[in-house]
Symmetry: C2
Subunit: 126 residues, 2 copies
DNA sequence: TGTTGACTTCAACAAATGTTGAACTTCTAG
DNA sequence: CTAGAAGTTCAACATTTGTTGAAGTCAACA
């Protein structure tokens, strides 16, 4: 049973406008009825949830499109599994990055050392 | 020696427009010369660097303003230290959140299980 | 004092991620 | 068949975080 925009939105917890936005940007695709209405597959609920998760991981819509584009048509569970793992990997990468930033904050130590240096000579700035 | 916009920008690695933006949003403050030009303190280099780090941690300008507003005027090194620690804590919180998202991806398992359910009765949607 | 680079303000633009509204069409239940 | 809910498109708006450009002013060196 195909899903309308509203069905998909409700099922995946996003606004209908967001569903249209994702379709417009190639993250989702839909067939059209003879009357030009979108019809999604049940699997698009999954796809949409993955999109949201990927966003929470910090991927942009363009980046999400890239990873989704590498999925085969009609992805099997193990395809989703691989995608999930790559999201996990990306999340770990971002975590590492944050931890590196942390290191710069705490480790560097010299982020905020500023004491009066020896008096200079240059033109005094009012 | 007070710093001009350009001085501060160069010293802290941001564009002059960004410095003005931060001042306009209350993250930085400046005195003015008689001719209305901004003059920053040396310590604002530190402040600005902290702003950038906080952004990399994922705080919005509004949030950064909040934490900076809790700093005493003319903060001592230990004040910066505390702020750094709270950024660290926030980063850890974000890391934990990402890890929770990861858990939902991998652990839940039922993110993408959709197989043909029993045939329903409702009006067939083309 | 004059020149010139750096400063000022203000408005417009930019990109990302949607939301909202208007005007119109379609679908489905009764 | 028809009413009303839900769909369609398109344009405008909203928010965040700045950048860019125009028009004009200031400051520091010579």
């Amino acid at each position: 049973m195909p899903l309308t925009v509203g069905d998909l939105a409700r099922a995946s917890g996003v606004a209908p406008s967001a569903v249209r936005f994702y379709e417009a940007h190639g993250l989702l695709s839909a067939e059209r009825t003879s009357g030009n209405q979108r019809r999604f597959h049940d699997a698009d609920v999954c796809r949409t949830k993955v999109i949201r998760v990927a966003q929470r991981v910090g991927l942009s819509v363009a980046e999400i499109k890239q990873v989704l584009d590498e999925l085969p048509p009609d992805p099997a569970p193990e395809d989703w599994q691989r995608l999930a793992e790559s999201l996990v990997a990306e999340a770990h990468r971002r975590i590492q990055h944050l931890q590196q930033v942390l290191g710069e904050i705490t480790g560097g130590g010299k982020l905020c050392e500023l004491k009066e240096p020896a008096t200079s000579v240059a033109g005094s700035r009012s």
